[in-house]
């Protein structure tokens, strides 16, 4: 096995294991930390696919901003394992069963997909220069609209969150 495959399997196991840790750990704080580890594994996958801009943005936006927001809210509410409400066993089992059945259905549907691994060669479209060129020529209107979306989300969060 070459280094590329070893890294792929390591990051895959890390992403799946930490993803399971998110839903299985009792303490919400450790759930958040597991989710941050999952995001780092996904960023590693982006780097393996030579999408370096998205890897950096994933770390900055998700692990840096969104998860810190989650941590703030959890610590503000002082949640821990003792106050954590639990569903009863039957509903938990039904949730796992339906998720697993969905996994099996998609697996059966996509099992016979043919791989064109020849197309899966190294490209440099994920570099910042190429993405920036596309973003500011072809997709410049959605980009500006998303800034308005951000502004409205910011004002909405302040209006919702302030004490009346």
């Amino acid at each position: 096995m070459e280094i590329h495959e070893i890294l792929f399997w390591f990051l895959t196991v890390m992403a799946l294991g930490c993803g399971l840790g998110v839903i299985l750990s009792r303490n919400p704080i450790s759930s958040v930390l597991f989710l941050i580890a999952t995001f780092f594994a996904i960023s590693g996958h982006y780097i393996l696919m030579n999408a370096q801009f998205l890897a950096i943005v994933n770390i900055i936006v998700y692990a840096g901003a969104i998860m810190v927001l989650f941590l703030f809210v959890i610590m503000l509410m002082n949640l821990n394992a003792d106050t954590e409400p639990q569903k009863n066993r039957l509903i938990q089992f039904a949730g796992v069963l339906s998720g697993g059945i969905l996994f099996l259905v998609i697996l059966a549907a996509l099992r016979t997909t043919t791989s064109n691994a020849a197309d899966f060669t190294s490209t440099d479209i994920g570099l910042m220069k190429n993405l920036g060129k596309v973003l500011f020529t072809q997709y410049v209107l959605p980009f500006e609209i998303s800034s308005v979306l951000f502004l409205s989300a910011m004002i909405g969060a302040i209006v919702i969150g302030k004490k009346e």
Binding site: H4, F8, A15, L16, G19, V22, I23, P28, S31, V32, L35, T38, F39, H45, L48, A51, F53, L54, V57, N58, V61, Y62, A65, I66, F70, V73, L76, L79, P85, Q86, K87, I91, G95, V96, S98, G99, L102, F103, I106, L107, L110, T113, S115, D119, F120, I125, G126, L131, V134, L135, Y139, S146, L149, S152, A153, G156, A157, I160, G161, K163
Partner: protein, 99 residues
Amino acid sequence: MPIQYYLFLSMALFCIGIMGTLMRRNAIIIFMCIELMLNAVNLLLVAFSKMYADPSAQIFVFFIMVVAAAEVAVGLAIIVMMYRKVHSVDINILNRLKH
């Protein structure tokens, strides 16, 4: 790496997110599981973008991240407001829309 590996990996992550959404009662954990599902879709989009050598998919991933950030800000504000009113984030208590 063949595209199927990325397909199955993001499928598994998506199903883990669905299981968490159905299993847990803490509203914040459910929110985090939704983020996990969004990330699984992002991973698959980047894999397809590399397969077809098309930068549009990576721009879409960028916009998904933007929308997720806005969604998290508003959603967490709603959860904080609900916590202030009922002193709980248990979704079995937050079911007033049902009645």
